[in-house]
Structures are given as C-alpha cells and as structure tokens.
C-alpha cells in the first residue's frame, strides 16, 4: 500500500506542509480528516452547495471536487487561516455578524472565503461591484436559513468599502 502514496508539499494558512497521500484523496478529506481543520464543511460533496469552499492560490474552489494531489506546490487558505491572535476576525467576518448574516452558520465559512477571493479580484481590476454582481458572486453557495438577503448585504457592505 505504502509505495502507492504520493508525496506533496504545499502551504496551508501560511504553514508549509509535506505529506504522503493516497492518490485518490480529495482535498476536503485532507483538510478535515488529516489536518483537522474542521471549519471547511461537507454540505453535499458534489459541488452544489459551496460549504466546502477554500482558496487555492487565492481562487475559491470546492474542496469536495478538488484532488489533493493537485495542491502540490500551491497555497491553500481555509477559514482558520483568516484568524490570527492579533486579529481574530477578518473584516468580512465582522460584516457578516454586524448584518446578522449568520444563523446556523454551516454555510458561512465558505461564503466568507468566496467573498474574500471576489474582493481581491475586484481590487485587482479596480472596480466596485454592483449588488447584482455581488449576488452573482455568491451563486455557488446554498443557505437554507437566511434567505441570503443579509449575506448579500454583508458582502456588499464589505466589497463596496474596500478601504476597510
């Protein structure tokens, strides 16, 4: 069995990690089961709900449809990587709380990360997104509790105040 393991090296939340993994390992299982980062949530494991969203080299992807072998040499950011001792919450997270966008919270972490990636993309392009674009940026996330309105409000508030 062991000779089948594939060595990979990557950075996760700023830390360098090297591992030997099963070839068919999926990123979400690496993150949750092996690295014990439980903030990445399994909502459907079929690319439909977005609860498992993480950033790979800054882009939001579904970790349930991403092969672990393909993170070799890349940078991963999970929700845990947004918190530091000095700054426990990222401004997006503050906005989510301020707007009441969190109910059961199972969908929230993925949404925070997608919004971060989208914010960075907007910054790069020097644009301030419209509400319609904000909604579109959230299309890959399902939320059963909130009806999305407060999530959209929070993301819009963050994305249209880029200085914060």
């Amino acid at each position: 069995m062991d000779e089948n393991l594939i060595p990979i090296s990557f950075t996760i939340n700023g830390e360098k990690v090297s591992k030997r993994i099963l070839p068919s390992l999926i990123l979400i299982d690496l993150i949750r089961d092996q690295l014990q980062l439980k903030g990445t949530k399994p909502g459907c494991l079929e690319g439909e709900c977005g609860a498992c969203t993480v950033l790979v080299n800054g882009s939001a992807v579904n970790s349930c449809l991403y092969m672990a072998v393909n993170i070799d040499g890349k940078e991963i950011l999970t929700i845990e990587g947004l918190s530091s001792i000095e700054q426990p919450l990222h401004p997006i997270q503050e906005k989510m709380l301020e707007h009441g966008a969190v109910q059961c919270g199972f969908c929230t972490c993925g949404i925070v990360l997608t919004t971060k990636a989208f914010g960075e993309e907007c910054k790069k392009e020097g644009k301030i997104p419209t509400r319609k674009e904000v909604k579109k940026s959230l299309e890959g996330h399902l939320c059963r509790c909130t009806g999305y309105v407060k999530i959209i409000d929070a993301a819009e508030d963050y994305l249209t105040h880029p200085s914060v």
Binding site: L45, M96, G100, C104, C109, K135, R144, T146, G147, I152
Partner: protein
Amino acid sequence: MDKNLNIIGKSKPKLDGKERVSGRAVYGHDIELPNMLHARILRSQYPCARIKSIDCTKALGLEGVKCILTAQDVDVNRIGYKRDHPVLKKDANCQRDEIAAVAATSKEIAAKALNLIHVEYEEIEGIFDPFEAMKEESRQINLHGKGKDLYGNKNIAESFHYSHGELEKQTKRSKVIVSRRYELPRVTHCCMATSNITADYSTMDGRLTLYASTQVPFLYQRDMAHALKMDPSLIRIIQPVIGGGFGSKLDMYPFEPICALLSIKTGKPVQLLYGREEEFLASPTRQTMIIDLTSGADADGKFTFREVRITMDNGAYTSWGATTPFVMMQTYSSLYQVAACDFQAKAIYTNNPFAGSFRGYGNPQATFSIERNNDLLADELGLGKDEIRLINANYPGEITGQGLHFKTCGAKPALTKVIEASNFIRKNREKHKGRYLKGVGLASMLHVGGGAKIYRSDGCGTRLKLDHYGYLDIITGSSEIGQGSETVLAMIASQELGIPMKHIKVVNTDTDVKPWDVGVHASRTSFVAGNSLLGAIRLMKQKLDRKAAQLMECEAGEFLYENGLIKRDKKEIRIDKVAREMHFGSPNELCIVEYFYEPESSFQDKQFMGDVSGNYAFASQAVEVEVDTFTGNVKVRDVYVSQDVGRVLNPMGLQGQIEGGVATGIGYALTEEMIYEKGYLMNPSFHEYKLLTAVDMPDIHFYPIETLDEAGPYGSKGAGEAPLIPTAAAIANAVSNALGIEFLTLPLSPEKVLKAWSEKKQNELANSQSI
C-alpha cells in the same frame, strides 16, 4: 409597557456568532472521539419487498469491520408516537428502510462492507397512492398499524374530525360556493448539515452519551430509552452546534438508536453521518396532501363555511407529519372569521417515505387552499381580493369557533399594511402585454404564537447562576438551532439585570445539566423560554434586592439594575459585590435560582375545542411576480411581509427569520419537489432538487406589527414559522393574477406554467375561430 428598554428592541448580533463565522463552532460532523468507529446503514433495494435472507459473512470478514447489526441481532422496541416503526426492518416497506448497519474503523471500510452484505429480496408490488391504499382489497401496509380498530380501515394511520357551527344552514345562506381539489408536493428540509449522531457507550457504568442534533432533547432521551429498553436517566444528550433544523429534528429516527446500538455492542464510540444523497432518501419530508376544500360566502362577502377533506400520504411509518391536522384545523376553523367549519383529515399508510414535521407544520398547505379559494370567492362576488379579506379579517377579542381567544390581534393592520405597501389595488387590476406578465397576490396566515399544548407539559425550566464576578450563566432547557433564541435570552437577562451582554453565557446543550423543556417547535422558544427566564429573574431579583437593601442599609423593596449596579435614589452597589456578600455573609448562600414556567394554554378536549396557545401570530404577505411567457419561469420580484410579532425583541434576528422563511416559501411555490416514481426517489441531490440561490432572491420588505400581548415576554409572540406559511399561497395568487389561469398544484414549475399558458392561448384561438 416599560418605556426604558435599552436592550430589547435593539439589533444584537448572534451570541456565539464569532464561533460560527470563524469555523470554530463544533457541529456533529466535526466531533472526533478516541477510538471512534464509523457507521453506515444498508437500506432496502426495493420500496416493498420480503427479505428472505441476509448474509453478512463476507462483510464481517473484511478487515476493520467491528460489528454488523440486522433486525435479528437486536432486542428493541418500535419507535414513533404510534410505535409502528421498527428500528431495523425484517421486511422492506419503503426505499429508506434500514436493513443492516455496519460499524468499522474507517468510513471507507464501512462503505465497502455495505457492498459485501448479501440480501435476498422477494419484491412485492408496492402501494404508492393513498386512495389505492384505502381500498378494501388492498393489503395492510404497516402490520403494526391500528387503523382497523381505531378508524375502520387497516391503512389509516391517523384521523381527525373537527367541526363548529351549522354547516347546512351556512351552506344555504351562501351566495357563492367554491369547491376545489388541491395537491401539494412532497418537499424536504435540506438542512445544510446532514443528519448526524455520535454515540458513546461506557461498558463501565452502562451510561450512554449521545451527541445528537435534536430539537427536543428531553423527549428524545425518553424515546431513545424506550427504543433501547434502557433507563432514561442513563442516557445523556449533548447537542452539538446544529446545522439547520426547521422541524426535521423533532422526532427520533431509526439511525439514531441504530448508532447507539452499535456503540453498545462494540463498547466504542460510533459516529454515523449521512451523505447528501442519503439525506434526501432518508430524512423526513413535508408530506403530500390532497385537499378538497369547499368554501362559501354570503352576499356581503362574509365567509359562511368551510368544508374540508384532507388525504395525507403518511408513508410506511408514522412520525409527526401525521399530527399536522392539529395546526391545520386551527387555520380552517379560525383564519378569517368563519361561521361554520367541518374538517376531516386522514393520514394513509403507503410504501412512500414517512412524513415528518417541517416549519409551518401543515399550515402552508392549509393556507394555500384557503387563500386560493378566497381569491375565487372574491372573483365570483365581484369583490376586490383585498376587500374580501378585510371584511373577514380576525379582530382583537375574537373567540373563534374553535375556542381560540385572540386577546391581541394584528390581522387587519398587517393586511392593510401589505395592501398599501405593495400598491395592491392598482397592480391587481393592471393588465400587461408582451413576453413578461406581472401579477400580484395576497395571502394571510394564523399560527400559534405562544407555544402549543400538545404534550402533557409545554413548559421550560431555567436555572440562573450569578458568580462572584458579576457574570451570569443562563442554564435553560430550551435549545438553539440557529434561530437565535440564545441571543434573545441573553438580551432579556441583560435588560432586566443590567449585566452587559458579554458577561452572559447561555448553557443549553446538555440534558445532564439543563432543566426540562419540551423542545424547539411551534415557534415557542422565545415565548416559553423567555417567560421562564423572566420568572427566574424575578426570583433572583428578590434575592438580590433583599441583600442589597441589607448592604446599603435601606428599606427592602425594588431597585434599579443598570450597568452592573443595583441602585435606588443616590445609593448604589455593584451587583458582583452583592453576590459575594450573599456567599460570604450570613446566611451563606449562592446567587442561584431556579424556575419552571408552564404556559396557561389549555389542552384541547376530545372535540379539539380550546385555547391551545398563549397567544396567536398573524401575518399577511403581498407578492409581485413576473412570468416569462416564453419559458414559464416565474420570477418573484418583491415580497411585502407584515406580521404581528407582539413586540420586536431583536430586529436583526427577526428580520433574518422572516427572510429565511420567505425564501423557503418561494422554493415551495416554485422549484422544490421530491419526485417519486413507484416508491423510488428520482432526484436525491441538489443538482436535481432545486433550492433557490442568492441570484433568485427578491427584495423583501418587512413591516412588523406590535400588539404587545400580555402573555409574551415584553409583549412578544412567536415568529419563526409564520413567514413561510402564506408565501406559496400569495405567489400562486400572483401567478393567477398575471396569467388569468388557475393553478391547483405546486410547485409552479416552468413547465407547468408554460403548459397552462399555451393551453389557454390555444383555447382562445379556437374560440375566436369558432365565432
């Protein structure tokens, strides 16, 4: 009421929001215990089959498999309130039936083991239509059902009959009578976290700890004990953070005792998590209903009577879905003033999945039928759809035919508000041309607002502990499932005791610690747990007042609690100091109190007469839609919601409940449906079962009505279920308004809408040619 509310009525973020938004909150899926095994359930290959044999030899031979259970291996009681549901099945009665369960050292091995279990089935033709099931010659579907003795038909699982007023007389008085058959689809909760449980049995002391996402921990403890033939006190329920409830976690389902049994047999912790497909296949549903409703109105537009016959598809076993008539009959008897009502509902066994409870508890279905008929009555009478509703609206002081007493009632203000805000009267008359046609629709609802006495107690206990440093623990029987009740409790305590929110902790997840409560249902938590907390606070204040008076050397009596201080006139003392002095001074005592609150609502009698709830919530919604006549797609543009909430406790939390409810209501109206063919679920994934996305959401305009009902904390009423109840009805009315077509079923899928539209066009063409 008290004008100096500085916390209540102000928006407060969720108490443990930071944990949830940062990924630190521990949900059931995140629990890992040392030596934990992973379980999987083998479900039936057929919706209806005799099981001739089960061979587990191969699976047991797989390295890492620790235990396999089948019906033969366990000594357990049947579950469900009708006790008609075996935990593991000897024969298959629906597609979700649990045939065997495996515990293994990894998820992968458990999954592999399932494939190695060999079951020999003899398939039987199932019965999937409730009318078919009721026929004399049909076979008995659930052998534990008592329908034959109780209701005269072997396949009736539950039956209700209620009536008030003189039906015959009112029928004669009616100027118009409308009769329709409505069919409502089967939908499901789609909690973002799938069902989960972790069981940890100790062979040392025989105690069982369950990390279970239940909304009703104390009933669950009792049900679990009954199933496992155990002493309830040996079972401890710990509720992890729950990723969505909506009624789905109101009952105990077979997977839970199964997981417990695996832990008991192996002596190790065992975890069972559903995948999404399994969640669709095996978690509860809102049942399909066929509603035959006849309603009448007199020449002035006053409602005369409602006669309703409801046939519910109960599925193969009985869960709480069968009891939704309790709620529905209130709506038929008392939503708007109705002189007479005759209500019959039957839950019929079929080989479909069993029906659970779902936010709204039958009320969305009932409201849909009534509000569709109301539009038709208005049309026949030549009255406005707003007018007919205003004429019949419920009013303060009303005691309805069923005996519900509306001590306060915001029905008319709510209706008036949404009619104005949506510009309903003008828009309802507007005719549109072209590809996109607009329409508006109106619907109202009535729901219990102060709990509902359906169990022997509808109460809630609270224990309060003020420590030496002025921090408060609220140990409450009630549960948090994402709805924000914890935050409201902390706000109440902060308001009353002048303790800052960040010094307050709510402890509510452990049956070994918390006092009894019936659970999260019937929009009751803020009401019942809030009142219980207020009772406990009264006791604690008595204690603190007494001590403070002693310490400040002033007369006993009431003090002002503010900013961590207890004050009167110019004198003040820190609350923590009072708590310390209480402990260290004489007579040495701790600042701990306990209170149990039981709402005054009454148990209904055998005829279902009685005032079941502490108070009642009223709401109206007006919806504007745009129908694309090229594709049949319905776009909801604006939803106007006005709701009698008694008093707004936490505006932001309330608004979130409203928006979430409306979104679920839109899904029910337009896209959601579990498609079953001969007992097989055809769309068990988010790919085929369509939930709305952010892009689909309309603007939601919310206008709370505050009626300050004496019974509720600060005058508030329960609000959690109401927002989704009238939405589908209002949307259906709006689509009818846009197209001039009647719809009798949900969801209003693009295909259904387009089909109706092209039939209408063809008929118009045929008519114009024949002239």
